[in-house]
Amino acid sequence: MIEAHELTKVFRMRADTRPGLWGAVRGLFSAETTEVRALDGVSFTVPAGERTAYLGVNGAGKSTTIKILAGVLTPGSGHCRVDGREPRADRNAHARAIGVVFGHRTQLWWDLPVTESFRILARLHDLPPALAEANRLLFDELLDLGEIADRPVRTLSLGQRMRAEIAAALFHAPRVLLLDEPTIGLDLLLKDAVHELVNRVARERGTTVLLTSHDVADISAICERVVVVDAGRVVHTGYLHELLRRAPTRTVRLEYAGDVDPAAFAHHIRLELGDPVTVTPAGRRRVTVQGPPELVTPQRVLAAVTGLVAVTDLVAPEPTLGEVLRALYVAPQPARGGR
C-alpha cells in the first residue's frame, strides 16, 4: 500500500543562467535564487496489490513524488508511507520492500556483466537461492535476458539495458514497485513483454504498482486506476474506465446514401444538435460529427438525419485514453501560488 499525504517539495535554484558571456560573468557575482514548487500538497492512496498510473505532463511533479516514495528525496512537508513504512525511517528495510525503475538511470554495475549485477543484488537482498533462480528463469523467459547475460552493462543498447533494469527492480520480489518511465527505448514487442511481466508479478505476488509513463500503451496494459497530477497537485483520481467517460468530446461518423448537398446536410445536422457541435463532410457521402458527449450520441445523430438520407453506416468510437489525458492536461486548474 502507498499513502501520500499533503506532500510538498520546493527546489531552490541559482538564477545564474543569463545568456551570453556577460550573463556568465554577472552570474559569478549573483546569489539570486528562484523557487520551483514541484509538489504543492499531493495526496493519494494506492491500495495494496493495485496497479495505478501516476500521470501528468512533463514537470507536473511525477518523478519528484516517486523519488520521495522511494526514500531518495525528503519532502518539504507532508508525509508518506510505503508498505506501512516511512521511507526514511529505516532505509535498508524500505529498500528491501520496494523495487524502482528510473527509466534514464542505471542501478546495475556499469563495468560488470549483467549476471554479476544480479548475483550482487541477490546477496545485498539476502535472496534465497531458489527464489533467485526462479526469478532468473522468469525474466529470461519474458525478457530474453540470456543473450545479454554475460555482457558488461556499459556495452548494452538502451533497450537491452532497460530489460536488465526492469528485471533488477523485480529481482528481490519487492512488495511495492515504483516505475518511472520503465519502457523508454523499448520496441513494441519488448513493451508487451514488460507489460506481461509486471502484470504477472503483480497478479501472482500481489505487488502494488505505481507507474509513471507518457506511453498510453503502458497505462492501458498495466493499470486499473489513475492519479493525474498537474503543477504539483492531484487533479483527478479514479478508475481508468471512469476516466475514459470524462472525455470532453464525442465523435460519431456517418455514411449515407442519397443525393444531398454535403454543406447543406452538415449545416442541417449542426442546427439540429446545437452549438458547439461541429459537423465536417469527410469524403463522398460521409460526415464526422464532434461535440460534447451529451449532445453527440448515435441516437441524436440518427434522429437528426432521419428523413433526409438513408444511413448506411454509423460508428461511434470510444474515446482513447490519449484524447482524455490531452483534454485533462490542457484544462485550466484552480489558481495557486508560487510556481
Binding site: K67, V72, R88, N92, H104, T106, W109, D111, E116, I120
Partner: protein, 266 residues
C-alpha cells in the same frame, strides 16, 4: 549483521573486478609516479651534492622518505571523490540509495579492492625497482611495525577526506575545483614532497595541527625511526583522532545532503 556482511562482501568482489577492468590506467599511474619520483630524487641529489645532512636527514634517509611518501600518496588516490562526485553531478547517486546497504559505506567498500590492486600492481613493483636503483636507509623492525597500522590509518583518512570532497558536490554541483585544490593541499601539506622538519617553524607548527600530516608525514616518520616510544604512540593517537573526526564529519555531511535533497537530471 550477517546480511550486511554478505552485502559488503558482494560489493568488495564487484570492486575488485571493476578495479581490474582498466589496467592501462594502472600502468599510467605507475609510470607517472615513477617519473615524479625520479625528478624529485634528482633535485635532492643536487641539493646534497655539497652537504651530507639537512635537518638530520642524510641522502639515503631523504631518498627513503620521498619513496615511502610518494608510494603512500598512490594509496591516498582511491577514486572515491571522483565516483561519488560524478554520481551526484549526474543525479545517479539515487540508485545507490535504493540498495539495502549504507550509501557512504558502499563507496568506501568499493575503494578497498581498488587500493589493493594499486598496492599490488603499482606500489609493489615501484618499491622493488626503487630498492634496486637507489640507496635506501633500511627501516628497523620497530619502524616497520609502527608503519603498517599508521599507513592503514592514513589510507582510511584518504578515503574519508575523499568522501567529504565528493559530498561537496551536493553544494557546488561540479567538484573539479575542489578536487584540484584537495590534491594540491594534500601534496604540499602532508609532507609528501618536503619533510615537515625542513619547513619554517611557524609553517611546520600550523601543518602539524592539520589532518594532512597524519596522511603521509606521520607514517613515513614512524618508518624511518623519527618518531619512537611515546612520540610514536602520540602520533598514532592523533591519527585515530582525525579518523574519528573524519567519520563524524562524513556522517554529518551525508545527513545534511539528505536534508538538502536535490537530484540533478530529473
Amino acid at each position: 549483521m550477517r546480511v550486511l556482511a554478505r552485502g559488503y562482501g558482494a560489493l568488495l568482489g564487484a570492486g575488485w573486478r571493476t578495479a581490474l577492468t582498466y589496467r592501462g590506467a594502472l600502468l599510467l599511474t605507475a609510470l607517472t609516479t615513477a617519473f615524479s619520483l625520479v625528478i624529485q630524487l634528482a633535485v635532492w641529489q643536487a641539493v646534497y651534492a655539497n652537504q651530507r645532512e639537512i635537518a638530520d636527514y642524510d641522502v639515503s634517509t631523504m631518498t627513503t622518505y620521498l619513496l615511502a611518501g610518494n608510494l603512500l600518496a598512490v594509496l591516498l588516490s582511491n577514486r572515491v571523490d571522483d565516483t561519488l562526485a560524478g554520481d551526484i553531478y549526474r543525479g545517479d547517486h539515487i540508485t545507490g540509495m535504493l540498495r539495502p546497504i549504507g550509501f557512504l559505506g558502499t563507496h568506501a567498500a568499493v575503494a578497498l579492492p581498488y587500493l589493493a590492486v594499486r598496492l599490488l600492481l603499482v606500489v609493489a613493483p615501484l618499491l622493488v625497482c626503487a630498492a634496486g636503483a637507489f640507496t635506501l636507509a633500511a627501516p628497523g623492525l620497530a619502524g616497520l611495525a609502527w608503519f603498517v597500522p599508521a599507513a592503514l590509518l592514513a589510507t582510511t583518512l584518504g578515503i574519508l577526506l575523499n568522501l567529504l570532497v565528493g559530498l561537496v558536490g551536493f553544494v557546488t554541483t561540479s567538484t573539479w575545483g575542489v578536487r584540484y585544490l584537495k590534491g594540491t593541499v594534500v601534496a604540499f601539506c602532508s609532507g609528501q614532497l618536503v619533510p615537515l622538519e625542513l619547513m619554517p617553524d611557524a609553517t611546520r607548527r600550523v601543518l602539524e595541527c592539520l589532518p594532512f600530516t597524519a596522511m603521509v608525514a606521520t607514517p613515513v616518520r614512524l618508518l624511518i625511526g623519527r618518531l619512537e616510544g611515546t612520540a610514536a604512540w602520540q602520533a598514532v593517537g592523533v591519527q585515530l583522532l582525525w579518523t574519528a573526526l573524519g567519520l563524524l564529519a562524513c556522517g554529518a555531511a551525508w545527513r545534511a545532503a539528505l536534508r538538502r535533497g536535490e537530484v540533478n537530471g530529473g
